[in-house]
Amino acid sequence: MRALHYVVITMILVMASCATLSGSTSQPIAPYEQSSEFEPANHIDEIVLESLTASDLEPAGLCSDAVFVRRVYLDVIGKLPKPNEVRSFTRDKRLDKRARLIDKLLERDEFADYWSMKWCDVLRVKAEHPINLWPNGVQVYHRWVYHSIANNKPYDQFARELLTSSGSNFRVPQVNFYRAIQGESPSSIAAAVGLTFMDQRIEDWSDDDRTDMEVFFSYVAYKPTAEWKEQIIYLDPTPRPVIDAVLPDGSHVRIEPDTDPRQVFADWLIRPGNKQFTATIGNRVWTWLMGQSICQDSPASQPALLAYLQKELIKTHYDLKHLYRLILNSRTYQQSSIPRNEDPHAAEHFAAYPVRRLEAEVLIDALVELFGPAESYESPIPEPFTYVPESEPTVSLADGSITSPFLEQFGRPSRDTGLLTERSNESTVQQRLHMLNSSHIQKKIESSWRLNQLMTRERGNRGRLVNELYLMTLSRSPTDAEKAAAKSYLNDGDLRQGVNDLAWALINSKEFLYRH
């Protein structure tokens, strides 16, 4: 028994090393993979590969161009690529075309839209209960976040502005950081700061540590103005003595009477030596792109990976786009989602790109883009911003209070807590009923002018019709088997009904509903 065990382990080791040298024993799986080789593209890959090899795990194959183009559009700009974008990418013969596409997408307006949405989840941007930023506050705050992302504001500056600004919630966007905290007490502020920038629930800290941190936020004051719901956030000017404060790392600091304690805290937070700050943002960006965080306390822990991201952040002066590029260009990110291991821990080692259901906003935007018509929204109280222009995608909605039954059903976060886990991408029966059989989706398909146009244009060529539908929905051409099945379905009965059903089947496929 023991001898057999040994042989098996040796075989796995041989297979693993083969994977790194001369290609894996497994063949790439069409149409999702294009090679089985793992050639490190940057240092991320070297670290990941080392951890995979050490655990006898085989990395997934390199994803195909078709998978890549869909994935990178969804991950960077939250949209599906259009059929012509898919075609021009797959036809491009340049070796660095993936890197070029990444650069191009990072410069698009939709990039800032999509990543503003993620940040506004973290910062709890909503007008109503229980955050109560009010519509005006939401609009200025969202716009500030949007421009910060579009201009690639260095992350340390982003954090510093949020922590140290003073002024009106309608005129100084950053002070809404304080407004979006439920409660004005130093302890509520400290809890929000800990969660947002340090990935800490300070509720779990000792009383002493918590009290120490609260000191830095004990002089934040709030006052109303004559304008409805306007509030000034400012530093309490009452004379105060010198404070001997203790920072979360235990070091003592003297706060002079003329110094804003928030600035002292911000200076400590964003200094390059503060590992908590860089670890939080490094891991957050990694999680957003890779679907799961870098474990810090499990057997699959990869301190080297996080340390590398932290080092790069400091080296580039907190350039987040540099971080996105680094991750997106890695072979690790460009793995297919088809795992080559049965080990349930393989995912923690990043042995494949994890499948995830599309977020509520991204999914409905894709459906509207495919079929139309624009969605309508509602808000708990009437507000002017509920009238959203038809051309505006759901992803770019500023206000978490403006919603629709679809968004609620598909797990859009309520923006109450700032926790990433608030967003739920789990699959429920109600969602399946809605996608499979609701009048909402059925009407979209039946009244789609794009499907109508496509059918009229390609009436004579069903092969092309099927091909185009595949490009529109799954961003790839059908395999021969798929094409045959689809064509035979279209040949039975009414063509428009057949096209509707084919579109219905494709948007209900896992390949459409999950990023992969």
Binding site: I338, P380, T421, E426, V429, S439, A486, Y489
Partner: protein, 450 residues
Amino acid sequence: MKPSIQNHWITRREALKVGIAGAASLALGAHEHLIAAPAATALSSSNAMAKSVIQIWMWGGPSHLDTFDPKPDAGRDYTGPLDKPIKTNVDGIQIGQLLPELAKQADKYSIIRSMTHGINAHETASYLMQTGRMPDRISYPSVGAVVSKFRGYDAGYNGPIAPYVVLTEPQGRFSEAGCLGQKYKPFATGGDPNRNRFVVEGIIAEGISDERQSARRQLMHDLDTLGKVMQDEPQFQKHDETEQQAYDTMFGKAREVFDLSSVDKALRDRYGRNTFGQSCLMARRLVEVGVPYITINYKGWDTHKQHFQLMQRKLPEMDAAMATLLSDLSERGLLDSTIVWWGGEFGRTPKVLWEPPWNGGRGHFGQCFSVVVAGGGFVGGHVVGASNAKGDDVAERPVYPIDLIGSMYELLGIDTTGSLTNPLNLDLNILPEVSGNVKSAGRLKEIMSI
């Protein structure tokens, strides 16, 4: 001094086991014990009276003076034209003159005339009435979501449709899953049960034959290339599971339940041929197949203007439907195990606003209002508490939101001191502790049969 809710429960339940001598020592360590084993104690259905709840949510806040707490002696500035309340079949209880059918059923329900929370804003009051809490950092689940968890999902519920159904439109976050997660969201039917065909969103599709349904499902499977390559992916397995459940719902018993065409026409007429009337009928049918929680969102009670005209139109509709629901449940032997809860986020200003722009309207009023409960262990024919002569404040025995909610949980066998497991991994309790702005005047023992 009132005992705290937690201690009350512990002494009642645990004192029996350990005897009176042991009760004091147990109470000290009890908190710890409950935290350690919440799952085991969350549902004690052995002493549950109620199996289902029908919540008639009077969206917008109904006037208490014009319904269940008339004040004929307060004068026309309070009664408006509705100054002649009627006797009910229970001695000493009078209700509004536009509710003659409900007057014949007063032995089946009890009226709480001293409901109070003092909040006059829709959002906050709706949230408070349906979660028992004031808004804070966390979005808490509504009563419906909590009941669907403990009496539905966690109790092995296996009905033909989700354990929490809303007829027909959802209210949004104020009555939903909160931080419990997607699964606990209600199934909102959409459509209109008063139409010839009740098009239930996701279950009954218009214009798609069963043959086409199954042909396109087959097509979807034939084209599921990624799914076939990744059969071991847990999320895909979950996806397949939910799809199967979705089809079971579409083609299984749910379709039958939602089809009102086989129901006796006279009975349908008695419920009233309108959305609310047929929703009440639908709610009874959902109770019959075991759905633990049904909310009927009854719109149109936010009557700032044209109040009395609206009452003339809406109250007869409400009267017929609700009275028929009570008698129908009772005749079928379902009332004993079904709580019917009628009420909105607040009442309306007892004093009529004659001045423009209201011209005889009533505003929001959270200081004192009425809620009606029936069945499932609530005894009928009683009035709980009292408002003062003008109906603008509590005169006797206040009832706070958690008193009402906690009483229902108790009748449903849900341990109100248990914890609410949630995907955010926060340490949350089913009901808030009494302190600060969370007030309690005790469970509704006077009308509970346990």
